[in-house]
Amino acid sequence: MSIKFKLIRLLKRLLPHFDPFIIFQSAVSLFFFIFLLILPLSSIVLRAFLYKGSFSLYWFQSILTNKYFLSLSPKGGKLFEIYGDTLYVWGLDYGIILNSLIIALTVATLCSILGIVTAYIMAKYEFPGKTVLRIGLNIPMLATPFVNAYVLSKLFHPKRGIINVLLYDILHILPYRVDVNGFAGIILAQTLSYFPIVYLNVLSSIISIDPSLEEQAENLGAKGFTLFRKIILPLSLPGIMAGFTVTFIFSMEDLGAPIGFIGYSGNPLAKKVMSYYIFQSFSEALRGQISPETATLSIILLILSLSGFMLIKKYVSLRTYATISKGSRWSSKVKKPRRIGLLLILAFIIPLVIFASLPQVGVFILAFTDWVTSGIFPSKLTFEYVNQLLTPSVRTAMFNSLTYSILAVLIAVFIGSNASYVVSRVKSSIANILDILSTIPISIPGIVLAVGFFLFFTSYFRGTVLDPLVDPSILLILAYSIRRLPFAARSIFAGLQQVHISLEEAAMNLGANRLHTFIRIVLPLISINIFGGAILTFVYSMSEVSTSVTLGSLRGDRGPITFYISQVVYGSVVVGAVSVGAALCVLLILLQVIAISISNYLLKQRFSIFGM
């Protein structure tokens, strides 16, 4: 036998499960995660814990004792206050750390209540119009970054907002004009777009409950609320936990609402959250600096969202996800409600769906009418803003987004296939680590990753193609690929679960090595899952916000569309520019609808955790 073979034999003595291909796969995946996740995040840690050249908690101390960051008594804002004919709902300012935490907990709680009730109704009752409502419940999840919050702030404008004009001035239903602003505005915007995440998680949990478990309980005398509390609620706990935690994390890292919620007379209260603070400090980054305060705040944000992730780790790992995302193998028991019940259900769910879809509807109105300048109601249809999509600066942004997203998909699929294969086929600590690393990007705030990328790549790759101050393109591609990797990895892992291991063993038995087996047997069999995962990755890369508006801001001509939208909503003084952003959002919505339909069709996945 050859020398190569003797080497294999020797290595095999040392490592009993030695297999060159598996080792290659593990190494490539690990390198990817270390280079793009662990090292950048470590650079933030380094910056946050260094003071005058040595390890110190100085920055943490200085932040946690600064009232701007943390204040135990409110130092501004108003919870519910009435002045003249207006009820102001703003929220109290406890310093940006507590603000973020309070907002996130409130959003997660509200989303859970709405989500659980909606899921229970949709899972257990049959009523007219259910299909329409089921589709309607997906509308709020369509990403329309910044513009959705802008629409809400426009709707709730105390003088010129449609809701106040309609309910106070015309119909006289409300005793006061309502000014939803500041933190309340963020909570409103986030709750409306995130509650379907809890809904889908809980729905998928409820319909996965074996109906015989319920029937057995009924047979023993449990019914109604007792049945719900004793059987359904505990068994759908994984879905509830995952939903609560994910909305908590999403709320804390969200930039769309703080940036987009302009509010009445530019109330700055909505900007007093951690994510916005970090975002803003990126303007300093143009001078090549990220302050230690920003790094420290990033670490705090990271710790908060990671602890959320640790809580639900066992529910969202690839291995668990694949078993609970398949939906039910049986058809869950569905009841027809009596008349009063039916009325209650419809009275709850129809307004909810309409209200939650308002931002997306508003996006369309903004894009196709003169609403942005016409005052209270739009006065005429116009294609002026849609036509502006053809201007060079918008075309550049679209071209950038497309290029970045496609390349990010290729990377995410490559790493996702290799990591998932190791996780699904090898029982070792490396596989467990890769399982966690493939899911953890969901819980890493994009804004924190952006800070990490900036610190790491400007410090160690200064002046190279990887330096974001030179050109952020490559870093944006890498950032998209790691942030959206979980979508690719999950879809591919679900496919691998379907491929019986003996199909691969048969190939190896007939003389094919691992690489051959992977290419000729495994890949063809999971091609649909790869494609489905790639589509999701693509869509969520196109609508990615956090790194796009930070790293993307470092060079105007390299910014993707979400950066462009943030500019027109937040910074631009050109009249009607927001509507161009809305027109871009319409384009994004179309893209999402098409892509998610294809992916759901291919993966035959009726419901999926994370609602995506």
């Binding site: 034999r9 095999k12 009993p16 063993e505 190896m508 038995n509 007939l510 003389g511 094919a512």
Partner: protein
């Protein structure tokens, strides 16, 4: 065709010892079966031979070549999996041709050899079908053809018939046996079905809890089991426990609760001494109905139940606290509760140490 040797092979999964110091020798062209209850380690043994599992210790030889460290794709073994493991995205031709394509055999030769092997397993004309368009029996043949086409050194069969219905299973095992005799290929067959094992094998190994308990021809295993597990696993039997009271050259005498039994110990090395606890094993077909008294191995009892099997009737006889199972001619008139006296010659009574 090779001789397969396993020397002291052990394989653990965590704290579970799946294969426990297994040593066995499969001769050139032999049809060798590993038989045992589910979870006994027989499939793991087969997978260790195929290289799909790496043993924790011990060596595996194909002839004089130590293949222990070879990855599966270098072993040149052809395996038929329990679920056939046909690739759903390939048709019959592509499935069967796979091993040759990997070996970079020329297209024309692949064509010729696939045709040849499909004829051998009687699947001519089904080249373009996909696995889901085939019946269970046809799938099984494709799996067999796919394994045979690479002319493996050894053919490994992992319960290949267990997914077929009873009638087809009997047909296929005959075919498999004929095919193996024709190709003279060393074959290792794993099954939990003792009848299948008896019919098909030249020699067989009985396995339990990871250990090999006996290796012999089917006849020897049935007639001369080496231990109680083998005796009770193979076929039906009545087992009576007792103590050795007398040891002669030809037989041993065993004192039981209600009676005294004479029997033989099948192997010299199974040492049985006066005073030892032993088990006496009686096969149902060796009993005779007997009128006259004072024979040692005679038992008086009452018919507890009986069932008509076809060529024979199976009778349960209550003798004191013991229950005997034996066979009588199907024409014999039986009544529940009636008295019967049965007898078994001492040379057909197996005495094993406990």
């Amino acid at each position: 065709m090779v001789e397969v040797k396993l020397i002291n092979v052990t394989k653990k999964f965590g704290s579970v010892v799946a294969v426990d110091h297994v040593t066995l020798n499969v001769n050139h062209g032999e049809f060798f079966t590993i038989l045992g209850p589910s979870g006994c380690g027989k499939t793991t043994t087969l997978r260790v031979i195929a290289g799909l599992e790496t043993p924790d210790s011990g060596r595996i030889f194909f002839d004089d070549e130590d293949v222990t460290d070879y990855p599966p794709y270098m072993r040149e073994s052809g395996m038929v999996f329990q679920n056939y493991a046909l690739w759903p995205h390939m048709n019959v031709y592509e499935n069967v041709a796979f091993g040759l394509k990997i070996r970079k055999v020329s297209k024309d030769e692949i064509k010729r050899r696939v045709k040849e092997i499909l004829e051998l397993v009687k699947l001519e004309g089904l080249e373009d079908r996909y696995p889901h368009q085939l019946s269970g029996g046809q799938q099984q043949r494709v799996a067999l053809a796919r394994a045979l086409i690479i002319q493996p050194k050894v053919l490994l069969l992992d319960e290949p018939l267990s997914n077929l219905d009873a009638k087809l299973r009997v047909e296929m095992r005959e075919e498999l046996k004929m095919l193996q005799r024709k190709l003279k290929i060393t074959t290792i067959y794993v099954t939990h079905d003792q009848e299948e094992a008896m019919v098909i094998s030249d020699r067989m190994a009985i396995m339990n809890e990871g250990r090999i308990l006996q290796i012999a021809t089917p006849r020897e295993i049935y007639m001369k089991p080496r231990n109680l597990f083998v005796a009770s696993f193979m076929g039906k039997s009545t087992i009576i426990y007792g103590k050795v009271v007398n040891k002669l050259r030809k037989y041993v005498e065993v004192e039981c609760k209600n009676f005294r039994i004479k029997g033989v110990t099948p192997y010299e090395d199974l040492k049985v001494n006066v005073g030892d606890k032993v088990a006496c094993i009686f096969r149902p077909e060796f009993f005779k109905l007997k009128e006259e008294s004072d024979e040692v191995n005679s038992f008086d009892g009452i018919v507890e139940s009986f069932s008509f099997i076809g060529s024979i009737q199976e009778v349960y006889l209550r003798v004191g606290s013991a229950r005997f199972i034996f066979e009588v001619d199907s024409s014999f008139n039986l009544n529940i509760g009636s008295k019967l006296r049965i007898y078994i010659p001492y040379e057909k009574t197996v005495v094993l140490p406990v």
